[in-house]
């Protein structure tokens, strides 16, 4: 079902723009052309944050943090096995999906832990990545309370995810 949504939207859009007498081909080309400068602009930001994350992971600090923080997370209802996932999720999308795959293989896709992991990933975003990319074209340097709020929400989401998986 979900596989049909996008194609239908696209076809509807093309038909609508034809109906509105927009030059479809030229407009599309014009838009697609803008993608290269955009990517060139955001590449340094993506590279920097990915290098920082890779260093963090390679040094094993995240794993150490996970064991150090396990009492707190356990008190919140998050299983020990998922702490590293929760910690890494705000930094890296591909990294956390790799971790999710490990969890799925190790514990079986229908176990409680795997379902928790799936919901946690589904309801959160790569906060730091989103922030750096979105702000790469602006002069904003001081973020005030944006990151703390986002992190609080992510933690709350993880707790809620574990709770919901227990009930459902």
């Amino acid at each position: 079902m979900s596989a049909y949504i996008l194609p239908i939207i696209f076809i509807a859009l093309f038909c609508y723009s034809k109906y509105k007498k927009v030059n479809t081909y030229d407009t599309f080309v014009k838009g697609a052309k803008k993608s290269i400068p955009l990517v060139v602009d955001i590449f340094p930001y993506i590279a920097t944050i990915m290098i920082a994350v890779a260093l963090l992971r390679a040094s094993g600090i995240t794993a150490m943090l996970a064991t150090a923080l396990s009492p707190i997370f356990n008190a919140l209802g998050i299983p020990t096995e998922l702490i590293e996932l929760v910690l890494l999720r705000p930094f890296t999308g591909s990294g956390s999906f790799a971790l999710l795959n490990d969890v799925l293989v190790q514990y079986g896709p229908d176990s409680y832990i795997s379902r928790c992991a799936c919901v946690i990933l589904g309801c959160s975003e790569t906060i730091f990545y989103v922030t750096t990319v979105y702000l790469s074209q602006t002069k904003v340097k001081k973020l005030l309370y944006a990151i703390p709020v986002a992190l609080i929400c992510a933690t709350f989401g993880a707790v809620l995810a574990c709770l919901l998986c227990k009930i459902m």
């Binding site: 949504i5 859009l13 093309f14 609508y16 723009s17 509105k20 927009v22 407009t27 599309f28 080309v29 838009g31 697609a32 993608s35 955009l38 990517v39 955001i42 590449f43 993506i46 990915m50 290098i51 890779a54 260093l55 963090l56 390679a58 040094s59 094993g60 999906f97 999710l100 799925l104 896709p109 229908d110 795997s114 379902r115 799936c118 919901v119 990933l121 589904g122 309801c123 975003e125 906060i127 989103v130 979105y134 702000l135 602006t138 002069k139 340097k141 001081k142 973020l143 005030l144 309370y145 944006a146 709020v149 986002a150 929400c153 992510a154 709350f156 989401g157 995810a161 919901l164 459902m168």
Partner: protein, 226 residues
């Protein structure tokens, strides 16, 4: 934190530092090429949406929500925000990014400090409501789950809750931070109480400034007398 991890690596595995860094930047490069392809498609579509006037319609549809959340009065920005939010809801994070960047550019006032609207956009994108967590479902299916889609309902509930919490927190923090924030966005607030508050804050600010000026002139006089 980065310095700390480098120090830690020097102690544990010094030969590997450069490899890790170059590997990561290579990963970033391939990600960017992938993104370039994705953006080319989506920005083409975006251009079509705008040229055909659909963007305007979507913005009108989401106008009440955007007005409540961002407190802005710019049609162009509103359009970008509407597209960004609808793409996020469909689970198209990568498609939402170019529009989000455009909206950010328009929201930026050049002061270097995030305005409440910018913070709201960041938090909304960081906690975005996802109706279809397609990647996760795909991974579950390939791992051999008996019902890969049974996580959809808990995910939607959880993501709706985090999104609501995010909006509430931003609004709450925005109230606490008001004296420091830009008065432009606040002046549109029709709440008389808050205007009175700002008045007071401004008066305080100016009296402070006058006081400082007096101090400086006083000092100058002193120096001249000497």
């Amino acid at each position: 934190m980065v310095v700390g991890s480098i120090c830690f690596l020097i102690w544990s595995d010094p030969a590997n530092i450069l490899n890790v860094m170059i590997g990561a930047s290579g990963e970033a490069f391939s990600l960017c090429i992938e993104l370039c392809a994705v953006y080319a498609v989506w920005m083409g579509i975006l251009e079509l949406v705008e040229a055909s006037g659909l963007g305007q319609k979507l913005a009108k549809l989401l106008h009440p929500v955007i007005k409540k959340l961002f407190k802005i009065n710019d049609v162009e920005t509103e359009k970008m925000l509407a597209l960004n939010m609808s793409a996020n809801m469909l689970g198209l994070g990568n498609a939402a990014t170019p529009m989000g960047i455009n909206a950010m550019k328009r929201l930026d006032d050049g002061s270097g400090v995030a305005t409440p609207a910018i913070i709201m956009l960041i938090v909304l994108n960081a906690t975005s409501i996802q109706l279809l967590p397609s990647t996760v479902i795909g991974l579950r299916a390939s791992a051999g789950s008996t019902s890969p889609s049974d996580i959809i309902l808990p995910t939607i509930i959880a993501t709706a809750c985090t999104c609501a919490l995010g909006i509430c927190l931003v609004k709450l923090f925005g109230k606490i931070w008001k004296p420091k924030s830009n008065s432009n966005s606040i002046s549109q607030n029709k709440n008389i109480k808050s205007i009175k508050k700002i008045d007071k804050a401004c008066k305080f600010h100016y009296s402070n400034k006058n006081f400082k000026l007096k101090k400086i002139s006083f000092k100058n006089k002193k120096e001249k007398n000497k």
